[in-house]
């Protein structure tokens, strides 16, 4: 299959950028250890392993969006993508070729964070495996947002938007704080965004809480589906717009 060669290239490009590994894997691990240390002196609920590990892991996936967006934007600016538009690759090959390499990378982030979670006190049960699976909708969402941004924006725009996106996901996701303290309007906004739902979905699965997971799953999956169609639409339009 032709896209596998393209996917291999994208995987290597990301792996050979040391910043990807540092930001993608080491930063979430650092945050988990940091908040875990703080929780020893300040026993805050959200800093407990069962809360902080899913929260920070979901936050870590945000960097996938940045890597992918920047990779596509660079491919556009260096004409590498134009070269491939002349090749027999079809739009679906590009979408798959850009998406697939990020999945093992996301898996590495997820597994690394959960292993660190075990070291700070997560019980080793099947729930850890279920939690890893629960990350999938948000990983897909992150990948499709990355493709969307990469196609629509240039490198400088992605750096700017990416910073806002990372801050928004951190503050509005509730990875390391109780969203109730935001209160009123901001709290209501978080209800409409996928970040806090992705975190809550994984937290419920990892914990013993008996709560409805479906609303969280539906919202995150819904966002993933919307951005899948947006990325396909804008990528196809990009190929065609070069045809105008």
């Amino acid at each position: 299959m032709k896209y596998t060669y393209f996917a291999q290239r994208n995987f290597k490009e990301i792996l050979r950028d040391p910043l990807s590994l540092i930001l993608g894997v080491l930063l979430p691990i650092f945050f988990i250890l940091l908040f875990s240390t703080i929780s020893k002196n300040a026993p805050i609920e959200v800093f407990k392993p069962v809360s902080i590990v899913p929260g920070i892991t979901i936050f870590g996936f945000t960097f996938i969006t940045m890597f992918l967006g920047l990779l596509i934007a660079k491919d556009k600016s260096t004409s590498f993508l134009s070269r491939l538009f002349i090749s027999p690759l079809k739009p679906k090959d590009f979408i798959i070729g850009y998406s697939i390499p990020l999945l093992p990378f996301a898996l590495i982030i997820g597994v690394a964070c959960l292993i660190v979670g075990v070291f700070i006190g997560l019980p080793v049960t099947l729930k850890i495996v279920y939690t890893l699976i629960s990350f999938i909708p948000y990983i897909l969402f992150s990948v499709f947002v990355g493709i969307f941004l990469g196609v629509v924006c240039n490198e400088a725009q992605i750096m700017a938007i990416g910073n806002i996106y990372i801050i928004a996901s951190a503050l509005l996701g509730g990875a390391w704080m109780d969203l109730n303290i935001l209160g009123g309007t901001i709290k209501n906004i978080t209800e409409f965004l996928p970040f806090s739902h992705a975190i809550e979905f994984s937290r419920i699965i990892l914990s013993d809480r008996q709560e409805n997971i479906w609303i969280h799953l539906i919202i995150v999956s819904g966002y993933a589906i919307i951005f899948f169609f947006l990325s396909v639409y804008f990528f196809t339009r990009k190929m065609k717009s070069d045809n105008k």
Binding site: Q8, D17, S87
Partner: protein, 241 residues
């Protein structure tokens, strides 16, 4: 092999290529010459299925450029003006990637990679990341990436841009070898390059062909002794008008 019929490309009100009619034979090395913005690269982009014509069409391999682009894409390749390479992949990986994308079978890929590395004298740097190569090496890699798929038509858009004299001469030698089995459409600003390599040239101005033929025919038409003089004369004529 290639026949354009009133091929035209407009960007808004700007006409980049205007009613282009030409035919290029199999095995020919055909050069498109012109000043910046004359329409050379736009012509190549249309003929390589990257952009659609605004009007007109072209027949390539007896296929319709617009309707049968997938068929045509499989049989052509391009070395773009910019060295469009995967910068974090080494030479071997870049070549393997392109070969795979064009559907060359797995057991043939390594043979094709070795062939390109030998032809373009890249063996000593084969494991070096593309971004660390000199401009000349990157250019050679870019052309090797276009050739590894054994294209029946190869578009070379300013292949020697930014190369030093030695690197340029080496590339000329590579291009001359290719002429034996590949139809080549070349754009260049270096007129001595076109003179040395081309079977025929077309001088384009503001998207229209001003002169077409062998170098000798163009010299006769313009009553000049060098292609550069003919080129300057044709461009001055237009500016005077």
């Amino acid at each position: 092999m290639i026949e354009t019929k009133h091929l035209t490309k407009k960007f808004g009100d700007f006409v980049a290529v205007d009613d282009l009619n030409l035919s290029i034979e199999k095995g020919e090395l055909f050069s498109l010459l012109g000043l910046n913005g004359a329409g050379k690269t736009t012509t190549i982009k249309m003929l390589s299925c990257l952009i659609l014509p605004s009007s007109g069409n072209a027949i390539i391999f007896n296929k319709d450029l617009i309707k049968d682009s997938q068929y045509i894409k499989q049989r052509i390749n391009v070395s773009p003006q910019e060295t469009a390479i995967a910068r974090n992949l080494n030479i071997q990986e870049n070549l393997e990637m392109i070969a795979g994308i064009y559907g060359i079978s797995k057991n043939l890929i390594s043979d094709k990679v070795e062939e390109m590395i030998t032809v373009f004298n890249l063996s000593e740097v084969r494991k070096k990341k593309a971004r660390l190569l000199s401009g000349g090496m990157q250019r050679r890699l870019s052309i090797a990436m276009a050739l590894i798929t054994d294209p029946e038509i190869l578009f070379l858009d300013e292949p020697t841009l930014g190369l030093d004299v030695i690197a340029r001469r080496e590339l000329w030698s590579n291009i001359k070898k290719l002429k034996e089995k590949t139809t080549i459409i070349l754009t260049t600003h270096y007129l001595e390059e076109a003179e040395a390599l081309s079977d025929r040239v077309a001088i384009i101005q503001k998207g229209r062909i001003k002169a077409i033929g062998t170098v000798e025919e163009i010299l006769n038409q313009t009553n000049t002794k060098k292609l550069e003089d003919a080129f300057v004369l044709l461009n001055e004529e237009e500016q005077t008008i």
